[in-house]
Amino acid sequence: MAARSAALKIDWVKVTSSLGLRGQTAASLQAFKKRNDDARRKVQLLSEQPQTIDFAHYRKVLKNQAIVDEIENQFKTFKPATYDVSRQLKAIEAFEAQAVQSAEETKGKVEAELRSLEKTLENIETARPFDELTVDEVASAQPEIDEKTASMVSKGRWMPAGYKERFGDMSVV
């Protein structure tokens, strides 16, 4: 009973729209909803049908009493077949636990990525234009500059390759 009431409470449109489901997930959810609706309709239809049989009426109408007796006997001894679904339920629970765990993992990953993206965005937004930067700031942002400087100085070279072509030669001689 609890399961049915839970199924009744689901707002299917909201599930699809709020979770932003797309493609195969949305399709399988739709299929599941259809299956649920069909089963519910079937139960509704069957429960509306009369569940008692007036055997006295049939005894009066039919000449063959034996068959009525037999059917009545069968009807009284009929018991709906019961299925043991605990294994399936257990499997579903395990699957759910795994799904929740992987969802948590994904959530953590996404949050970390979001934090780093926000940091990057903040960096971009608070960045100053290049003409307001000092050499020290540029070098601290790109340690390669200091390494290259050290290697050039140790080799006794004082003019980086391609500098004059780009910025012009200011020397008089």
Binding site: F130, L133, V135, V138, A139, Q142, E144, I145, D146, K148, T149, M152, V153, G156, W158, M159, P160, G162, Y163, R166, F167
Partner: protein, 48 residues
């Protein structure tokens, strides 16, 4: 002119050596590396 008087030649040579040494040391250790660093930074910024 005093620089042409032989008495001051040793003094001049000593001071020339000291001044040149200090100049070369200061340039190669402090001044020129700053320029190189500045040039490399300019190239790097222009590449961005």
């Amino acid at each position: 002119m005093p620089q042409l008087v032989p008495f001051f030649f040793v003094n001049q040579v000593v001071f020339a050596f000291v001044v040149l040494t200090v100049l070369i040391y200061a340039l190669s250790k402090y001044i020129l590396p700053r320029f190189v660093r500045l040039f490399i930074s300019r190239i790097y910024i222009n590449k961005l």
